[in-house]
Symmetry: C2
Subunit: 642 residues, 2 copies
Amino acid sequence: MYKVIFQFENNDSVESYANEGENLLEVARKSNVAIDAPCSGNGSCGKCRIRLISGDLNSKRTRHITDEEYAMGWRLSCCSTVAGDVTVEVPDIASAYRSRMKVADLSSSDEVKIFEEAKAQVEEAGIVLKNSMSVVELEMNEPTLDDTMPDNERFVRAMEKTTGIEKVRVPYSVLRKLARVLRSSAFHVKCVIRKTARDVFVYDVMPAKEEVVIGGLAVDIGTTTVSAILLNMTTGEILAKASSGNGQIRYGADVINRIIESQKPGGGKKLQKAVIEETINPLIWQMCQSCNFDRDRIYRMSVASNTTMNHLLMGVDADPIRKEPYIPTFFKTNALFASDIGIDIHPDAHIIVAPNIGSYVGGDITAGAFISMIWNKPTMSLFIDLGTNGELVFGNSDFLMSCACSAGPAFEGGDISCGMRATDGAIEACTIDRDTMEPNLTIIGKEGTKPIGMCGSGLIDVISELFINGIINAKGKFIREGERIKHDKYGMGSYVLVFEKDADSVKDIEITEVDIDNFIRAKGAIFSAIRTMLNSLDFTVDMIDDVYVAGGIGSGINMRNAVNIGMFPDIPIEKFHYIGNSSLTGAYTMLLSTQAERKTYEVAQNMTYLELSTVPTYMDEFVASCFLPHTDSSIFPTVKLK
Amino acid sequence: MYKVIFQFENNDSVESYANEGENLLEVARKSNVAIDAPCSGNGSCGKCRIRLISGDLNSKRTRHITDEEYAMGWRLSCCSTVAGDVTVEVPDIASAYRSRMKVADLSSSDEVKIFEEAKAQVEEAGIVLKNSMSVVELEMNEPTLDDTMPDNERFVRAMEKTTGIEKVRVPYSVLRKLARVLRSSAFHVKCVIRKTARDVFVYDVMPAKEEVVIGGLAVDIGTTTVSAILLNMTTGEILAKASSGNGQIRYGADVINRIIESQKPGGGKKLQKAVIEETINPLIWQMCQSCNFDRDRIYRMSVASNTTMNHLLMGVDADPIRKEPYIPTFFKTNALFASDIGIDIHPDAHIIVAPNIGSYVGGDITAGAFISMIWNKPTMSLFIDLGTNGELVFGNSDFLMSCACSAGPAFEGGDISCGMRATDGAIEACTIDRDTMEPNLTIIGKEGTKPIGMCGSGLIDVISELFINGIINAKGKFIREGERIKHDKYGMGSYVLVFEKDADSVKDIEITEVDIDNFIRAKGAIFSAIRTMLNSLDFTVDMIDDVYVAGGIGSGINMRNAVNIGMFPDIPIEKFHYIGNSSLTGAYTMLLSTQAERKTYEVAQNMTYLELSTVPTYMDEFVASCFLPHTDSSIFPTVKLK
């Protein structure tokens, strides 16, 4: 056995032991050291860089590490095996786009606006913004020697009288504290209840003089990014908002690699822990701290996520999802409570899971399709959710069809050498001067924020500009020369957006031909999915009345540029609408409105699913789409080079 | 701070620290060292003996420690304070009557007979021996690309078809394993379900080829003794039976002292832990081991216990029970599950708690009154449960009245210097020769078992024989001399039943005047309660048709002797029936039969409660009863000295 020491930039370190020849990425994983490995360790993504400080590693050379970098000690951990005692540095930059948790600044109206809009839209559709949770006040007579009714009977009778509902359910958690609360409040209490026509469930009881806000937690669990909001369930007010990388990402960038990882011994528990203990619970703590909220006062939670994510969240076996005939354990479940899986809110809090409709179209899409309101319009709409999986829903108030394609994490900055999420320091928009090839960048964050990398919307702009200005060709290869264009010794071209000295980074921020290739495959997957689905319904792109684009790609997405690169169909730009993280707004409305929750189930029930892999033409469509904008330029008539 | 070391006979030890002057019993308690202290540390019971090995203690002298014993290092821990580093031995003998767990030998027909009889009686009363738990087998079509229904929907539909019930509840615990079980069994499974007219709740799912027995756990939580059985819920067969002392006993012998202890910081948790982790769970483990049963296959539990015990079990505040106006948190609750309080059986197992009817008449009495069947007879019956609290129920099919009195632990061998529970080594019966004063003893256990102490039935015999033979007077004082009669330097008399050399003990087995006094007060409490209750109803003892005696006093109880000492009314002996631990048999039938469970609730509902302390004559009755047999000998006409 050799000793392996992982050092972090903050001077923490983790010690572990490994046998000769053990893969360093595996050693890191078993030691709970987070190293980013979106490709799950097959050497293709180049993200799992570490730096050898001392000792012995056997490392394969790869195109991801330059000679200079190699000399400095940089290695890919997935391509390295232990050859002796060894100390390596795990750079924070490796997780740059991944995990920095961000609590939103709610004083910025943009953060809240999207939820206000969602509420307005839901109300416009005639859906009442009312849920079954409420606070009631009860005043009881204090017991005497002549009135010795036990506490819970006294309490239940008062509740029956106040609510008019005969069946009152007092769970153990309330029973346990009832005597104390009643006596500390002179039998004058407030209760948090869920009231239906059939029964009243008592979540909590507290002295009447306490201020009580019923907290709700809505979470969008993306394969790459997890976003959450804390809301006042009575008013709908957003109390806090936060997001972070999905802690599972170190076990694979996409759902398939995660499922494979979950099948290893202890894998299911490990992945569940990564998303709950390392991602969702820290988000809860941060949000509660930011607005001084007691997390035990969060009495209900909604989750919108793809089918694999909600299976892994629940620790339910996800393996049948990836194996023919691709069967999930559930589409719908209402059996989940916070204490079942260790979500750190009130233990009796019910967790509503937005319904899946198939192994590859999950609750994120049903929640998103609901809030896009495409089910409520007579005109034809296309809903596109740009996540690690791309999902589409097409239809109107008469029918809805959905399909899914694997886009990879490129839209959220994954699989891109300088990619990152749409947070502070991300290049979210770009224009490039035709002649000088100098870029003009828009950076997320306060004035003066230095760029760190590119988010999805920035990538679309950069590639579109490089293409329109004739700097790259339709295959994404560099065809012009200049100060910002470099070629490495393998001949791979790249374009420098920000030189190291101007960046908040240890190297140039650049886009390489490999990045462009990755992105072209992602956008090709989306476009070919759109074409294939429309074809299957005998529709053409010009019959689309509206396109609703959702996802973490960033509100800066330039639809014209997305058309230029052949990601979206070439239809009038005014038909496109960016609706943000619809999965999260959908989860929000499911919490806020019982009718919205029901409607989401109804939308899911009525949605059909097209399995693209069963459509013979899909592969051809995909290959044809892996060009800028497309091999058949006639379907992009408005795209012209400058 | 001084170091305090507690040594045990098995050579284990516990190290702790204490300040000068700290009470040694308190130090033991905070260090989780079990020292028996039924009087909760007020110096009266003399049970908390320890032996000073080295170091410094300040100890008060007490009548419980002889000079010889003091010289050997014996001290009462409640009367000792720390005066320096100290090492003490905690003798196992101190807990002799308390905690040795005993798994019953079911091959002895006596152990099982009582449950067979209970079943027969219940059936005779027209109650169906059927509960809602059952095993169903489901066979499903395996999914294909043309039949991609998710697992839980497939499962629920099969369940609906088999049971005819539309609402099927699949909890998280089942959902989590569903995919694996279905695939490992080719979609042919067995399920443990609870089926009602309204819904089906699925407790468990397993491959169809597995043998499944639905386990049920019935527990009688006495203040002094906890008894439990593991049963087959389908057939009613007793699979295992065990009992042990209630681990809470070190925090006080009676409910009042326990409640006081529960109010100290962390006290509620400590008492809950003592009865669950240290008592009930070990009983479960022992029982499961004895019959090779998987404890996760115990899907339902019933508890019969007094009001304080079920409150402390649940960690519910019991303080209002002992304070005017004496209000418990609950009479009935159906909100308790095994996982709520850490009972080590299937986490979703429902815990049925036999209903309380007042702060001092609890579920042990309602379960016992049910199984005594007194509610089903036109004739007048008296039900007596001889526990640490004595409870009485009087009535017939038209009315039932109950009352409670504090008898103390004497009937279970507590508060008696050589007292013990009715287990191996206990003197359970005794006659004494009028002339020689030599005793003739019956010992529980195999032929040749040496006596250790006396259980309740033995005490009744010894005191009756001492009295009838003129060895003690009506006040319980020794009035004859002999080899077996001793007096200590304070003049306290005692009678030696077994000399040290013949006993499995380090000292003589004897009964002292203090013991007799304690026992007289216990029996006086019972008899005066009987008189007071009957008087309040304008009944006299000769109007009683049957007396059902229950409790852990031992099946050897001699009713004639119990009348002789004035414990039971002087009515024809054939009217007395010993029905054993009716609290446990009642809990057994509640599990086995849904109708019996309902009937128990009904019996509780119809039972009125007489608070003895509000009856002005009760105290006089009690004082008059604290003689052998009574100050008014005319009410015991058949009791004659030999």
